[in-house]
């Protein structure tokens, strides 16, 4: 067996797992699991039927639908800022129309911009498998992973960017190019009068030097760049703005739910709501440290009664995810209070219910992007215990909007503390909700985009406050 094979094939657990009390799978997933030995065995699995395919998307909300959440004055301010931009045109370009965080954001953002009469068009670059293999390699390399770029790799990147550049028209007032994949479209800048913005959704704090050196000359031609956290930036000669990623409070993942639905989901998953529930929502990935979460739970449980829910996906179609799931099941042992849920990607409502049913939400990541699962928990008034990595400290202001931890022991202590100090936990949840409302909602980003557009087009000069 080669080293590669070892990675691709998860080891069979030493003993059949006794930990998984409930696992959510569609029939096809179950069938695939039964025919492919890659998935760890699941015992005592409760069958919970979920749709085989994603539900059709609901029509996007209107701006006024958010008034009940952020208040009418905020809506009025957004409309006022947009007034100066009526009729202006914007082109947004990214690399995928479905799946992934950027597409999710654009699907919600663009209808609101259209409603505000900021005429926003969304285009997706096209490319062959070779292009997307290269951009996937770039993505990992920019996150600090190992990569061995060659001239051919850079040529593939440039060739597809050039093809897309020739195919697209650049006649708008503003161009927003998302992430590195279409970054070289900036070569069209000289041909038109528009302003160019590069929106970087990834963490560039520790990039692969060669890949970054290749991309940097393109990035420095933009009129402005946007990052999700100050910690994710590089030294650049062009202005860098801070736009936090955002959640949509009206989406299935975040909207208010009937108590009866939350209860139903808990019943289906075997969660006893008369006892404390702590939850981590994340794919089965070592960087999310699910094993560390179980260890923290075990330490805490010596002092306080609680159940642990680990819910996520990625174990069905990702060999490494299956390995991590096996590790998680081994760590959980036969504890019936550890509930591990391997959910399909379209389980937004179930995830929403699990978060709302929780007394504490954990995100004990060892490395993280911005951590939108933290934002979701804050929005739901939950006290959050989270690893102090990536964009998490921006969201979790220690002891004010949640607590930050750096170890299994620290996480265990905070579980104990919050479960025995419910008033403090409630206060954290309340502050966390307000923090997310002020900074991390879709509507906050609509406002940021509008102000930046005004600034780029010279329509409203910032005042000198200082």
């Amino acid at each position: 067996m080669t080293e590669k094979d070892k990675k691709a094939t998860p080891p069979a657990p030493a003993e059949p797992s006794r930990a998984v009390k409930a696992s959510v799978e569609t029939d096809s997933m179950i069938e695939r699991r039964n025919t492919e030995p890659a998935m760890p065995p699941v015992r005592e699995r409760r069958k919970y039927k979920v749709s085989e395919t994603p539900p059709p998307p609901a029509p996007p909300p209107k701006l006024n639908d958010y008034a009940a959440i952020i208040g009418q004055p905020e809506i009025d301010e957004i409309r006022y800022i947009a007034r100066l931009l009526r009729g202006k045109t914007v082109k947004m370009v990214n690399s995928t129309a479905v799946g992934g965080g950027v597409a999710e954001i654009l699907n919600r953002l663009i209808p609101l911009m259209q409603e505000l009469e900021v005429l926003t068009k969304w285009e997706v670059i096209t490319g062959g498998n070779d292009f997307f293999e290269v951009t996937k390699g770039f993505h990992n390399a920019l996150h600090g992973g190992d990569y061995h770029p060659t001239k051919e790799i850079f040529d593939i990147f440039l060739r597809y960017n050039e093809q897309n550049r020739q195919r697209m028209e650049f006649v708008e007032d503003i161009f927003v190019i998302h992430d590195p994949q279409p970054a070289a479209l900036i070569r069209s800048k000289e041909r038109n009068r528009g302003k160019w913005i590069w929106r970087c959704h990834i963490d560039l704090s520790n990039p692969h030097r060669e890949v970054w050196n290749f991309l940097k000359p393109f990035i420095e031609q933009y009129d402005a760049t946007i990052f999700s956290s100050p910690a994710f930036t590089r030294q650049l000669s062009v202005p860098q703005y801070l736009f936090y990623p955002s959640i949509d409070p009206l989406s299935e993942k975040n909207k208010d739910l009937d108590e009866s639905y939350i209860q139903k989901v808990c019943d289906d998953f075997g969660i006893d709501r008369s006892r404390p529930v702590i939850t981590q929502i994340s794919r089965f990935d070592r960087l999310k440290d699910p094993v560390g979460v179980i260890q923290a739970y075990k330490l805490a449980k010596k002092y306080v009664d609680c159940q642990l829910v680990l819910a996520g996906g990625g174990a069905s179609d990702d060999p490494e995810g299956a390995v991590v799931l096996a590790e998680v099941m081994n760590e959980a042992g036969d504890d019936p209070d550890v509930i591990i849920l391997n959910l399909p990607p379209w389980s937004a409502l179930e995830i929403n219910a699990l978060q709302r049913a929780s007394n504490i939400v954990i995100q004990k990541s060892l490395k993280e992007g911005f951590g939108l699962t933290v934002t979701e928990a804050l929005w739901k008034n939950k006290p959050v215990i989270a690893g102090a990595v990536g964009g998490i400290p921006t969201q979790v202001v220690h002891k004010l909007t949640g607590v930050l931890v750096h170890s299994v022991e620290g996480c265990a202590y905070q579980i104990r503390y919050l479960l025995t100090h419910p008033e403090f936990a409630k206060q954290l949840g309340r502050n966390g909700h307000e923090h997310s409302k002020e900074n991390f909602l879709l509507t906050s980003n609509v406002k940021r985009w509008l102000i930046l557009y005004q600034e780029m087009l010279g329509l409203n000069k910032p005042i000198k406050v200082a």
């Binding site: 208040g71 009418q72 004055p73 905020e74 009025d76 301010e77 006022y80 800022i81 990052f227 100050p230 910690a231 930036t233 030294q235 202005p239 860098q240 703005y241 801070l242 736009f243 102090a388 400290p393 202001v397 220690h398 002891k399 004010l400 909007t401 930050l404 502050n431 307000e434 923090h435 409302k437 002020e438 900074n439 406002k447 940021r448 102000i451 930046l452 005004q454 600034e455 409203n460 910032p462 005042i463 406050v465 200082a466």
Partner: protein, 222 residues
């Protein structure tokens, strides 16, 4: 009598504005207190504004323990509790210029480092990233010509409007007061009422609480 006070016309109306901003990420960052002190001397005024005045708005809902980003960094990333306490005691309302505010913050940091040399080069858990704000003013349709209208409109405006008139105003006016108090004094001859409003503590109240307290002060005077 009370009704008369509420309906007495002001010499000039009060126009409610609001403000919105985007944050710019600066190129300066500090990984130790020594670097922090050096950067504090050099960063532009709008960075000092961002981490003191502006951050109060971004955290306006917290009524305990949040004062400014510098204090919070000293506490959470440097574990220098005394320094954090001293920085958090800086009340931005006492400053009508960024220069004075910068000098005060720098003075606290330098004095602390003089007494705690070993803290100077200790690596912070997280760097401090200096940012700044681009702020635009947003006129609102709300106008008050007397106290009755003032209380009615104050209920309608966003918390950003309250921050703009009640907190940011000090730098704009270069006075130790705020737009509301100034209007009450200059246009309604209600200086004492303005003084009471000016004493509302923004560090132990959220901006919505500030709104409620202003309303309470005005309505109790009537």
């Amino acid at each position: 009598m009370a009704r008369n006070l509420m309906q007495r016309w002001a010499k000039a109306p009060f126009y409610f504005n609001s403000a919105a901003h985007v944050t710019r990420i600066g190129n300066q960052r500090a990984t130790t207190l020594n670097e922090f002190a050096q950067a504090l001397e050099k960063v532009p005024d709008d960075a000092i504004f961002q981490h003191t005045f502006q951050t109060l708005q971004e955290h306006h809902y917290i009524e305990e323990g949040f004062s400014n980003d510098f204090a919070h960094w000293a506490f959470a990333s440097c574990n220098e509790i005394e320094l954090a306490e001293r920085l958090s005691s800086v009340d931005v309302r006492e400053y009508t210029s960024i220069k004075a505010l910068r000098d005060r913050i720098l003075g606290i940091v330098n004095e602390y480092l003089k007494r705690n040399e070993r803290a100077r080069e200790r690596a912070a858990f997280e760097p401090f990233y200096f940012c700044a704000s681009d702020t635009i003013v947003i006129p609102t349709p709300w106008v008050a010509r007397n106290l009755e209208e003032f209380t009615a409109e104050l209920r309608k405006v966003s918390v950003h409007s309250i921050h703009y008139h009640f907190i940011d105003a000090r730098l704009r006016l270069k006075l130790n007061t705020n737009d509301f108090s100034l209007w009450l004094e200059n246009d309604l001859d209600l200086g004492a009422l303005g003084d009471r409003i000016n004493r509302i503590d923004i560090y132990t109240a959220t901006l919505n609480d500030v709104r409620d307290q202003i309303l309470k002060v005005v309505e109790s005077a009537a």
